[in-house]
């Protein structure tokens, strides 16, 4: 601004506007004198005003100005004038170049305000009679312009304006502004000249803006920039991270209004969350150990970083906005930053949600790894909001991909690719025979929640089968089965890449693979290793299925086994076994099976007979070992021992029967003797017979029961189940069930211990009886032989002496012998019946249903029960109901 020209112009203006001396002189000389002073003062005032930085409240827009003027004209009802003005203005603004007005807008503005002023003045003068004061402005009515301080401070307190006390007089009139020079500013008040009423709102906004700016020491732009830094976790100049408060806040040292502080704090929550996520990523990737994190943890960090890169993108855009301000259209000429704190709030709303989600995930996954981490993340994915779902879906696909890869490898190749122990299948190094049962286990801690337990079992079994085939069966045909499974899986639409959310695809693949591999395993077991044949062989030999063989064996081995245990030689027994095999139908069995049949001598104590330590065994190797483990074979041995003992007892009784055969001759023998002896002998003989019959009845029925109700039945069921078995686990379970049922039903189980003891004592008793009966009949036969020879009288003379002595001795012997025999027989009989009754009585109380059949067989005529009832009354009440039940059945 060329001030010399301006001051000259101003002087000119003053001169022109104020009335001339001549004019004033007409009125009075004193006025003329004052003119100069007034002119001088006016000039100062004008200069002062021009030096001030009063800003017009409307923008520098010529077109708008012209429009507004036209509108005013129209409003005044002067439409033609408005048109004329429009025309003029068009021509006026078309003029460009030297000699023209550059600042057209300013000129129009001046014209307009002057016009308004004139209009108002006219209106006022018209309305009022002649009052002079009303035409005067505020300052003029006070007798002149206010006294302004001598040093004109042009740039002074214009910026810091305290709130103006303004009042609107009326809608269509000026704002009257009071003079507030006496308030806080020592340099005196500054007039704010009133604007047109249309700008009332604008000026109010402007005042508010100035107020806000005055309140805060830091500009909003600086705060916004700092907040953006905080959103990336960096401390800015004003906004720093406070450890105690655990958040980003504006530094206390700066004077910032409380509302702004709260706003900044809210905005910086994003920064806090970002910090947390970033810390986790740093710890895991840059500083952490791989063993603690594992591949799943790494995948998690990678996907977090991807999400964060989206966030960075947004922050970059926002930062660009901060440095690239767009001028506002409404408030003044001053250029504001585009990005205010409130705009930032809106922009950061969505990233806040996302960052919160990531931070929650980070918190939950601390310390987890592998499948557990995947499961925890999956739990969070059960959320309704679509934004959360989309983020979680992306995240989970990444996180679960190592897991799914591991599953795939395990299921299709049997390889455990798990360096960091993240997989839910854990392998132990064990011997080959324990591979199936203990080699691999499920670790449910690492099982993610979206893989159900049944699927996990299948996965485990499939991989286990592959390993089993490879290790135990030496079979490489499983590769084909696996290839088929892979082909089937890829046919189902999955291009080999499984991901989260495709649990059904995984299930399909696993089921397919499981089916193929399991089928292959079973095929191998049946065909290559002849599982069925071996089971049958065990049944025939260990469970005494091959009757003729057992008979021969017992005949051959019997005498040897009666010796004390330590004198029995297993070689001899093995030889006897061989001859028994050759003698029976067993010779037609295959060599492979017969090879496995051996004699086993169990560890013996003192006083044991051979019978107690003898047993057969069947040798099995891998892979059949997995089914017939040591425990299983021990059970078989138990059953064999029991059956063998039963067989021995039966054998003994039939042998007794053989010795008892020549009964008639014996009877006839004693007819010739005295009647007393005859009756005694006859009585004893008869007793012996009946006792033997009883025992035989018992043993035979027991044998039949074991053979038909227990062994054959269980075997049939086992065969059925073997057909139905889908995989090796099923097979093993079926076999276990088979064996368990045999053991339970033959009274060898836990619950039948008492009965078992009873049985054993019964057997012992029967053997004692056998010995007794043998002795009796031996003596009887000896007597008979002697008497025969005495009847023939061949050797009478020779044997007279011996006969008489021997006869006398035998006669004596016979009587006492008979008495002793009789006593013993009685004892045995009594003991037997009591034991037997005890046995029968306990049978119906047993849990197992089939034992009722045994009691039925043994007591089908209820002979014993009735006898029992006659003998004792107390246990009756217990037994009444079961008897009725058996009767009704």
């Amino acid at each position: 601004m060329g001030s010399k020209e301006v001051s000259a112009l101003v002087r000119e203006l003053v001169y022109r506007l104020l009335p001339s001396k001549s004019e004033l002189e007409q009125g009075g000389a004193d006025r003329a004198g004052r003119l100069d002073a007034i002119a001088e003062r006016a000039y100062n005032y004008a200069v002062r005003i021009f030096g001030s930085r009063i800003v017009p409240s409307i923008i520098n827009d010529e077109g708008a100005m012209a429009e507004s003027i036209k509108r005013q004209l129209v409003l005044q009802g002067r439409s033609s004038d408005a048109l004329a003005f429009a025309d003029l203005h068009r021509r006026f603004s078309a003029q460009i170049g030297p000699g023209c007005v550059e600042n057209k807008w300013a000129l129009l503005y001046v014209l307009r305000s002057l016009a308004e002023d004139q209009r108002r003045e006219n209106a006022e003068t018209r309305g009022i009679a002649g009052s002079l004061t009303s035409t005067l402005s505020g300052p003029a009515s006070h007798g002149g312009l206010p006294a302004l301080p001598a040093p004109l401070d042009r740039t002074g307190p214009c910026d810091n304006l305290s709130p103006p006390k303004s009042m609107v007089v009326s809608n269509g009139q000026m704002l009257k502004v009071q003079n507030y020079g006496s308030t806080s500013f020592p340099s005196g008040g500054v007039l704010i000249l009133s604007k047109d009423t249309e700008n009332a709102k604008a000026s109010a906004i402007r005042e508010f803006v100035e107020l806000c700016q005055e309140e805060s020491e830091i500009s909003e732009g600086a705060l916004v920039r700092d907040v953006l830094y905080a959103c990336q976790g960096i401390d800015g100049r004003y906004v720093k991270f406070e450890k105690e408060l655990d958040g980003f806040i504006v530094d206390e040292a700066f004077r910032v209004p409380r509302a702004t502080r709260m706003l900044v704090r809210k905005l910086c929550e994003v920064g806090w969350l970002f910090r947390k996520v970033q810390q986790h990523i740093d710890e895991s990737i840059k500083q952490g150990h791989m063993e603690e994190i594992g591949t799943v943890g790494q995948a998690f960090c990678a996907s977090l970083q991807e999400e964060l890169s989206d966030y960075y993108r947004l922050i970059a855009v926002l930062e660009a906005q901060v440095h690239n301000p767009i001028p506002l259209m409404s408030v003044g000429n001053k250029v504001e930053n585009y990005l205010s704190l409130r705009r930032l709030l809106v922009w950061l709303a969505e990233p806040l949600v996302r960052m919160r989600l990531l931070a929650v995930l980070v918190d939950d996954c601390k310390g987890l790894k592998g499948g557990a981490m995947a499961g925890a993340i999956h739990m969070h994915a059960q959320h309704g909001a679509p934004i959360v779902r989309s983020i979680m879906a992306r995240l989970l696909v990444r996180v679960c991909s190592p897991l799914f890869e591991m599953v795939r490898r395990w299921v299709l190749e049997g390889e455990l690719d798990d360096i960091y122990e993240e997989f839910f299948v854990v392998g132990h190094p064990v011997k080959a025979e324990a591979l199936w049962r203990e080699g691999y286990r499920l670790q449910s801690g690492m099982l993610p929640s979206f893989i159900p337990e049944s699927l996990a079992q299948r996965i485990l079994r499939t991989g286990k089968s592959i390993n089993f085939l490879r290790v135990c069966c030496d079979d490489h045909g499983w590769a084909e089965a696996a290839r088929d499974a892979v082909a089937a899986a890829s046919n189902s639409g999955n291009r080999g890449g499984l991901g989260y959310g495709e649990t059904e695809a995984l299930e399909v693949m696993v089921v397919e693979a499981a089916r193929k591999i399991d089928g292959h395993v079973l095929k191998i077991m049946y065909d290559q290793y002849r599982l069925r044949d071996h089971c049958l062989a065990i049944k025939r030999y260990l469970l005494l299925g091959q009757g003729d063989f057992i008979q021969y064996l017992m005949d051959l081995v019997g005498p040897d086994l009666s010796q004390p245990a330590n004198t029995v030689s297993s070689f001899k027994l093995a030889g006897l076994l061989e001859s028994a095999i050759r003698a029976s139908n067993a010779q037609y069995d295959e060599g492979e099976i017969l090879d496995r049949l051996r004699v086993k001598m169990m560890p013996y104590n003192d006083g044991d007979r051979g019978w107690d330590v003898f047993s057969l065994e069947y040798i099995l190797r891998d892979p059949l070992n997995t089914i017939f483990t040591e425990a299983v074979m021990a059970n078989y041995l138990k059953v064999f021992n029991f059956l063998w003992r039963l067989k021995r007892v039966e054998h003994a009784l039939s042998a007794t029967w053989q010795t008892m055969k020549p009964n008639c001759s014996l009877a006839r023998l004693f007819t010739s003797s005295g009647s007393a002896e005859k009756s005694q002998v006859a009585a004893i003989l008869r007793r012996c017979q009946t006792l033997r019959n009883e025992m035989n009845h018992f043993v035979t029925n027991l044998q039949y029961y074991i053979m038909f109700e227990v062994l054959e039945y269980s075997w049939a069921k086992f065969l059925e189940e073997m057909e139905d078995a889908q995989d090796l686990d099923d097979l093993i379970a079926a076999h276990e069930r088979y064996l368990t049922s045999i053991i339970e039903k033959s009274l060898l189980g836990e619950r039948s211990k008492l009965l078992c003891k009873t049985l054993c004592s019964l057997f012992d008793l029967i053997l004692r009886f056998r010995a007794l009966a043998d002795r009796l009949y031996e003596n009887a036969r000896a007597v008979q032989a002697r008497s025969d020879s005495s009847l023939r009288k061949k050797l009478e003379r020779e044997l007279f002496l011996s006969n008489t002595s021997r006869k006398a001795a035998s006669m004596d012997f016979t009587v006492e012998f008979l008495k002793g025999m009789g006593d013993e027989m009685d004892g045995v009989a009594a003991e037997y019946s009591s034991l037997f009754e005890g046995f029968i009585a306990q049978l119906p109380v047993q849990q197992h249903v089939d034992l009722k059949f045994l009691s039925f067989r043994l007591d089908f005529s209820e002979f014993y029960i009735r006898q029992h009832m006659n003998m004792s009354t107390a246990p009756l009440k217990l037994k009444r109901t079961p008897i009725k039940a058996s009767r009704s059945s």
Partner: protein
């Protein structure tokens, strides 16, 4: 050059007359010169108004004090 200046002034004068600002040609020329110089138009308008008032006051006083 002058032609154009005169034309501009003429146009401005006519506009000013339409708006009934009460400025005569010379005053308008001064005003135009001032705005060209970059003076704030609002301030300028305010000054003009004040000067006019002052003038009116002088005239009225002189007239009223006329004997």
């Amino acid at each position: 050059m002058n032609e154009r200046a005169r034309e501009t002034l003429e146009l401005a004068y006519r506009m000013s007359n339409l708006l009934k600002t009460g400025l005569d040609r010379s005053t308008l020329a001064v005003v135009m010169a001032l705005t060209e110089q970059g003076v704030n138009p609002e301030a300028l308008a305010a000054v003009v108004k004040e000067l006019r008032r002052e003038a009116a006051a002088l005239r009225s006083v002189s007239f009223s004090s006329a004997p």
